[in-house]
Assembly symmetry: C2
Homo-oligomer: 188 residues x 2
């Protein structure tokens, strides 16, 4: 088949849907974040790409801490709302029940099945977005979301995001064991 | 419900499953990559976290170019194989049909519904992994994967990955329009 271009503004298929939490002027603020990934194995570190014009960068500056919260699909309306309105204009601190962990200043969302708190390690300046890299300091989940002691994506039931069509999705079927299903592939 | 810890080694739920392509000594090499995200809006840039002990860093050094390829779920065995064996030991250049775009040295996979080629912009050194940031120089897909001119995740049918349980998943149901479904949320 003939290859064609869809331009340069291509996104990941899919992106995870998370809520990025920071405290600003002592109040929790949450923004919807799909530009997030693990960046380091040991110690465990994550990185997130945040537009410089957002309200959230102020929280990184103030406390050098942040949280990544994984909402379940039934939270989709509140999750989307966090991406629609800025903390500059609307106080989002009462939208969720908030708790704190060891870092004390990284606000986490009680309703989310899984949250991590991170210590800011470095800020990479890109043209329109900052990339905040943090070390994972702690994780918070509930027994009901685990299978064999590990978070079970079927129980977490997280959301996925696609852009440019701007749609949320859920996770589908199991498709195989990683570092296993490809063992018998032969080349050539 | 009581919150409990699952330690510090927490991963994204879920991660996209991509094949990261570089040329090394003139030959294409592909590694399975879940640690990848957009990092900048304009110009469009992506970043990927790659263990320093892998073979792939040599390709970044040689050409300052790379590709991110989105395989479909029916490629799961070959995709997994690319994560099981290192290019140091096995020549993976014949595993897929390879093509090149404008950058000339970023090998892309013809069987993948969507590929992007990137120009390396910066390398962020983290303790065990390098984080390679690149500007998207071009994208390559086929008409059959588009709806209204945009990549359609139902047609791409990509894979997702979860760790620590190490499983692949497919994409499930549509769950709402982003920047839309939360419009009527009221706080308090």
């Amino acid at each position: 088949m003939k290859k064609i271009s869809v331009g340069n503004n291509v996104f990941m298929y899919p992106m995870p849907v998370t809520l990025l939490g920071v405290n600003i002027l002592g109040k929790p603020n949450f923004m919807t974040l799909g530009w997030v990934t693990r960046v380091n194995a040991n110690p465990p570190m994550v990185g997130c790409g945040v537009g410089k014009h957002h309200y959230t960068p102020q929280g990184f500056d103030e406390n050098k801490t942040f949280s990544i919260n994984f909402p379940s699909a039934d939270m989709v309306r509140k999750v989307d709302y966090c991406g629609l309105v800025s903390g500059k204009d609307i106080d989002k601190s009462k939208l969720f029940e908030v708790f704190y962990g060891d870092l004390k200043t990284a606000p986490m969302i009680k309703e989310c099945p899984l949250s991590i708190e991170c210590r800011l390690v470095k800020v990479v300046q890109n043209p329109t977005n900052n990339f905040y890299i943090g070390e994972i300091a702690g994780s918070y989940t509930e027994e009901q979301y685990l299978t064999d002691g590990k978070p079970d994506i079927r129980k977490l039931n997280p959301l996925l995001l696609t852009m440019m069509d701007n749609r949320y999705w859920t996770v589908g079927e199991y498709a195989g064991d990683a570092w296993s299903i490809g063992k018998n592939v032969k080349i050539g």
